[in-house]
Symmetry: C2
Subunit: 193 residues, 2 copies
């Protein structure tokens, strides 16, 4: 079954094909070398004043970092993410006193987007999740107070949907939907949204 | 002169080649059709709970929207951006009462990243800028109070660097730099950053 986006106009294949599965192959492993191109893509993402206010902590299934990360995932994420080859925790520096840092979460989003696009080009899949205990994750890895673990990017090889329970299987196979472009892009003063 | 990123390992060409110029060709125009693939790429970006909390206002050089946008650019941006074919103002819904909206700026970052990658694949260049008067921009386009104009993405065809004044020319041609990966990606508890 193809999960490619039903785009209204052709776009880059890697962008149309990318999607966020919950089913990862538990028999396949990853190493830092496998993810280096993805991190390199993130590295070259643009950022406000080229501040690059992002850091990544990565664990690989089988190592202590990965194990500790899985303990702080919430809800459903704790059931499917441990099958993946790697978990990346994306962080930004959160400094309310520093106005320039206003763009730190935005720029982290750009960096993880570049990461995900490169990963997909390399035959991997990424599912980003917000469902994890931020404070516990920060404590587990001695993250300084000013840094905020903000996103968990679960990375791996695609697994069979049947690995999922019924509820997750339904989500995994549901049609992919997005709001139409004409409700998103405007050329004149703002309509009601 | 190539501005391609000096990556430490090969990555997708479109990601390595993408950069953010200030020199845009004032003789070339853009239409909404030219940017539709880029907006479509943004449309299919991932977001927390698939909330897609982004909206885009776009003006094209020569129209009233573009003209009004250029009036609210700050500093240097006001000197180079008007040569571009289009300006896109990216917005997210800012609702401090709604915890789920926490990811709105992050997700806007992802959407604009996808936009920029597609634009580059289509032979266009994007320079994102934070330097604009947010409140004035919001007022000019009747943006509801809960929505926040957050980024200006200047889009167009690459122009000759000589279009820029001396200060901007120096920036335009300076080597592209990023922090090394080993100061960005960690596999163990957080080092000093």
């Amino acid at each position: 079954m193809s999960r490619a986006a039903k785009t209204s106009t052709p776009i880059l294949s890697v962008l149309a094909q990318r999607w966020s599965p919950r089913s990862f192959d538990p028999t396949k492993s990853l190493t830092l070398a496998d993810l280096t191109p993805s991190f390199e893509a993130a590295r070259w993402a643009p950022s406000a004043n080229n501040a690059q206010e992002w850091r990544f902590l990565v664990g690989f299934r089988g190592d202590a970092t990965f194990e500790a990360m899985t303990e702080h995932l919430s809800g459903w994420n704790a059931s499917w993410a441990p099958n993946a080859g790697a978990i990346v925790v994306g962080m930004f520096e959160d400094d309310p006193e520093n106005k320039a840092r206003d763009y730190a979460p935005y720029d982290l989003g750009q960096a993880v987007a570049h990461f995900s696009v490169q990963a997909h080009a390399d035959g991997l899949f990424v599912h980003q999740a917000a469902g994890f205990e931020r404070d516990a994750m920060a404590a587990a890895f001695s993250v300084p107070e000013s840094w905020k673990p903000f996103v968990v990017a679960v990375v791996g090889h695609l697994g069979a949907p049947e690995l999922l329970n019924e509820t997750l299987l339904a989500r995994e196979t549901a049609p992919r939907v997005r709001r139409p472009l004409d409700e998103t892009v405007f050329t004149e003063p703002f309509p009601s949204v």
